[in-house]
């Protein structure tokens, strides 16, 4: 369904992505792991053209494009097939939860208002916020805000849902509610690309795990293979370190 080849991106002298290939099939849950600074977030942002890659090609169903210098129409088409969940939620602060979700439907997709409202309510119900339609982001907890973010993303029926560290900005006790929603979406067959540091979650939901370091993909495979029998020493080292974090007792 979505195939991206040879993405390269640098910020000044810093080569963040040095030729990354990634393929996503319908129903895949691709989890991208890696230490910070390994280019995971940049990779996701390039998929949605929030960041312009320096090089690379994308095949997305019937769309064929170079990542560098893609036309406005192509970018708009790709963006309508994907939806992005941000680390910092990035909710529209001047809109209520319901309006946040409706915005993409009414304004970008020209869905009639009444229908958009129904769809937005359904999306909010799905993430467990049926009682928070008319709350502004500033009146919601971090976990609730992120669930609105997820509702905003799923309401537009994207082919691919992209999650950029959706729980990294949350208090530990709020992480669970967001992961539960994501797990539910995964079970319903959504196609997702997820960057996360939640290892247990990754093991449970991932159909494919990609390990990145230093701007390249070091290794990829099934969750079971990566977590129990990583081929590369670098992967094993990373997993030892992050899994050990969970044993911390203070």
């Amino acid at each position: 369904m979505l195939k991206v080849e040879n993405i390269k991106k640098s910020f000044g002298d810093n080569q963040v992505l040095q030729g990354v290939d990634i393929e996503v099939n319908k129903g895949d849950i691709v989890v991208i792991l890696g230490p910070s600074g390994s280019g995971k977030t940049t990779l996701l942002r390039c998929l949605n053209f929030l960041e312009k890659a320096d090089q690379g090609t994308m095949t997305f169903d019937d769309i064929n494009t170079r990542l560098h210098g893609a036309s406005k129409q192509v970018i708009a088409k790709v963006r309508k097939k994907t939806a992005f969940v941000f680390q910092n939620y990035n909710l529209f602060q001047n809109k209520t939860a319901l309006q946040n979700v409706m915005e993409g439907l009414v304004i970008a997709r020209k869905v009639p208002k009444a229908e958009a409202k129904e769809r937005a309510k359904k999306a909010l119900d799905k993430v467990g916020l049926a009682d928070r339609y008319d709350y502004y982001p500033s009146q919601l907890s971090g976990g609730q805000q992120q669930r609105v973010g997820i509702a905003r993303a799923i309401a537009v029926n994207p082919d691919v849902l992209i999650f950029d560290e959706p729980t990294s900005a949350l208090d530990p006790e709020l992480i669970g509610e967001v992961l539960a929603v994501m797990k539910k979406l995964a079970n319903e067959g959504a196609t997702m690309i997820i960057v996360t540091h939640e290892m247990t979650f990754a093991q449970e939901v991932a159909s494919k795990v990609v390990f990145m370091d230093g701007g390249v993909i070091v290794e990829q495979g099934s969750a079971k293979q990566i977590f129990t029998a990583p081929k590369e020493e670098r992967t094993a080292q990373f997993l030892r370190r992050v899994l050990k974090d969970y044993d911390y007792v203070i």
């Binding site: 929030l50 963006r79 001047n94 809109k95 970008a108 997709r109 500033s138």
Partner: protein, 245 residues
Amino acid sequence: MNLDLQFMAETFIDVLHGIPVTFQIVIVTLLVSAPLGFLMTVTKLGDGRIGRRAAAAYVSFVRGTPVVLQILFLYSLLPTLLNYLIKEVCGLSYNIFTVNPILYAYVVFILNTTAVLSEVFRSALLTVNKGQMEAALSIGMNRFQAYVRIIIPQALTAALPNICNTTVNLLKSTSLAFMMTVKDVTAIAKIDASFGYNYLEAYLVIFFIYILLCSLVQGVFHLTERAAAAYKKPASVRNARRVFS
């Protein structure tokens, strides 16, 4: 020292007639300066190097010179210049010296306020975090839609206190319009005073008038601010207020 209360009462009634002129200058200036200032902000934040430099130069020129000087300069220059253009270049016989001097006041205050507002808008736009723009793009909105629906409404809310400041400053500087023979509040007071040399009384009266006008402007802005910032109020604060009242 005795204040001529009779004179003060009469002057008070007289200067009330100047209030529409004062407000006219304020409102026309704001209506013209707001879009111009916004255009200048867009130029400043845009990619065009020449535009950015020109806007910066303009702002530092306007802010770096006293308004009084700008008035004196423009009021000496503009009529003569326009007269020359009309008579010599276009060959028309229109007498520019009969034109309502309030037009010159507009020019000076618009030049000033545009520069100030462009800075106000610029800083306000920067207060809205860039993530919301990205979120809007990611759900398929274009930049224009994102600006109109998401960014500008929040920026305007953030800018309100500064716009209030600008308006109050503008209102106060309209008192300089008397130098261009505009019959505003200050001019009327000065004329009244000149007959019997009652300057002190006349100034006291318009002190009071300006305080009243400025308070009125601040009050209006205060209410607008409260209404516009409704989305910023966390639920806990609202509930707390309910508990204590």
